[in-house]
Amino acid sequence: MENTNMKPTKTILDVFNESNLAKDEYKSYSSFLKSHLLSVDSETNVPWFVKIITIFGACVGSLLFLGFLLISHLLSSEESMIITGSVFVLSGIAVTYANKRNYLSDSLSLSLSILGQVLLGIGIGAKAIEFNTVCYAGLVVETLIYLFAQSYTHKFLSVILIPACLLGIIWNSPIFEATHFLIGGLAVASVLIWTNELPLQIRLNKLPCFFVPTAYGLVLGLLLTLVLSINSKFFVVYINHWYITSLISFFSLSFLLYKSLCQSLGISKKTFWLVLTIIAILFAPTVHAPGIISSVLIIILGFTRSNRILLTLGIVFLATFIISFYYSLQQTLLTKSLMLMLTGVLFLGIGFAFGHLKKKVAMQ
């Protein structure tokens, strides 16, 4: 019987027993897990809620301290802000090296890092006047933090901030349409990293802080960049040709389905092309609302990796995109409503057809 609800049902013992491991293999795997699963210091053992609290606390704490520095006029010149900012960023990175396995130092190092990044941003912005310079500097700083900081949370924030800096650069240039390729790149990268989850985890086992923050950061970066871009009129940026983003997301979805259905499940090429055609027809009416296909991409990615966090992210952002779509001024409410109703009816039709297929498979 297959596990269809995505929750782990088997115990470690069950899996080891079913794997028919040799005695020495069993011993080595079980002793490794016993020593690591109870370790409080292990980053893998820290629930994600704790990481969220750390990021929240570090952000609020560092912003308050920043407020103190500004109000007390301790940093009055641009140069002093840049120097102090750099010192804070470097100290933040250094703290992650000082005690890599102590999770509690993460909050302090993250606070230092965020404080330093904001100070650097204000300092460079005030000195250079142009926003582009801040974005380029941000890109360099975030890349350095991503490469050198030995912490999940530092790298995770950097992965999200790198696309944000790129977005700033694009929006300060005459080619707003390049936004589509940034979003498309993030969609492709998200699919590639998650479909290669196991080989990458093994290859990067000497660098344990890389895979998880990069993979989750890319997905969140993709969804946040899309939210910002769809509402770009608030930043006086007018982006057209949304079908480009939809098309790239569709190709990413096709690749994901190819890997999952053809390579893993071994379905025929003919069936695969039929599935792709149905998907293309289903999403055709929403081609100007790329958030919808992108969130569905993340939902399916979450399913293929049995990852409930990705699935939840996809659902939450799907709701966000539909609300954004309501306020979008590119079409009238009547056009949008007809578009959604048409898509809905198409989906329901396919859904009921699938219901019959399900019955057929269950009978077999």
Binding site: T4, L37, L64, I322, L338, G344, L348
Partner: protein, 329 residues
């Protein structure tokens, strides 16, 4: 180290840990991954796609209908408007009637009936300008769908029903009593949501499989803790001019203690404890702000340290609870 740790569920975390082992091969890890059930088979795919497609179909159709009536098309006759929503209710009801209620598509149909009922009330109000208050709409909507909610055993419907009751209470206090931000509104919401949460957690604690999923109690728990914290903070800032705020503060403190006790000892759920920690940080910070009489420079300086300090303490407590729970299983 105890052998009981091997009875822990084989989650993705275990895969991530095993990947860190020296000489771990991709074949072995893939085999563990498949045996543990992380690689969906054809049956899982069909089940998932079927649910996804139906859910998206319902979502798009319902939002399409909402957008359509928001457009308020003046050229469309009022009977046509009412017929569209009435037809949608009828179609969804027929699907639900001729299906087994435990099937996913039947539950989705009931959800559609519930949502379209609200649309019908809104369209009726839009056409005839009944002059009713918005709370009337939400209350009547909740009353009309109560039967559907009871028979459905579908959590999104319960969530919708609770949201409608909460909205009706807030709007009743604002539109009828002219008390928009009132501690007794928060207390009323607290009572409603706490009753719902207690019922859910009672059955969850008794291991009733229908109450296995955690998303609904988490949202209700967050709403309770968060709303009481906000009301408590308002009380601290206003020096409890209204005694209702003092009750809210006490209820907030009671919620934190209950969340810590219940979710660390009875039903393991770290998320509600984590939310309590964030709310406690906010509460402590407000108390200090008030004690320093909102003296800006020192507050920013002390505040930064306090927030970081409390965050570290919270993370430490959460990790300890996590470890203690693991050693129990």
């Amino acid at each position: 180290m105890p052998d009981e740790i091997l009875n822990e569920k084989f989650s993705l975390k275990v895969i991530y840990l095993l990947a860190k082992m020296d000489h771990m091969s991709e074949e072995v890890l893939s085999s563990f991954y498949s045996i543990a059930g992380f690689k969906p088979g054809i049956q899982s795919w069909i089940s998932f796609i079927s649910k996804l497609v139906l859910s998206l179909g319902l979502l798009f159709t319902v939002t399409g209908v909402i957008f359509f009536f928001a457009y308020n098309w003046s050229e469309l006759h009022k009977f046509a408007k009412l017929s569209i929503v009435g037809g949608a209710i009828l179609a969804s009801t027929i699907i639900a009637l001729f299906s087994e209620l435990n099937k996913f598509h039947a539950k989705l149909s009931l959800l559609a009936v519930a949502v379209f009922t609200g649309s019908l009330l809104a369209v009726f109000g839009q056409i005839y300008q009944t002059g009713a208050n918005a709370y009337d709409l939400f209350l009547n909507w909740a009353i009309l769908i109560t039967g559907i909610v009871l028979i459905s055993n579908f959590k999104p419907l319960w969530f919708l029903w609770l949201t409608l009751i909460n909205t009706a209470i807030i709007l009743f206090a604002g539109q009828i009593l002219w008390r928009w931000i009132d501690p007794f509104v928060f207390i009323s919401l607290f009572i409603v949501n706490t009753i719902a949460l207690i019922i859910y957690e009672y059955f969850s604690y008794r291991k009733n499989p229908k109450f296995d999923s955690r998303w609904l109690p988490r949202i209700i728990g967050f709403a309770i803790i968060f709303s009481m914290t906000v009301a408590g903070i308002v009380g601290i800032i206003t020096e409890f001019e209204d005694y209702g705020h003092a009750i809210c503060l006490l209820l907030a403190l009671g919620s934190y203690v209950t969340a810590f006790f219940f979710y660390s000892r009875k039903v393991y759920d770290l998320s509600s404890i984590a939310v309590s920690c964030v709310c406690i940080i906010a509460m402590v910070f407000t108390v200090i702000l008030k004690a320093r009489n909102f003296d800006t420079a020192s507050i920013f300086f002390i505040g930064g340290f306090i927030i970081v300090g409390l965050t570290i303490t919270s993370a430490f407590i959460l990790i300890k609870i996590n470890k203690a729970w693991k050693t129990q299983i």
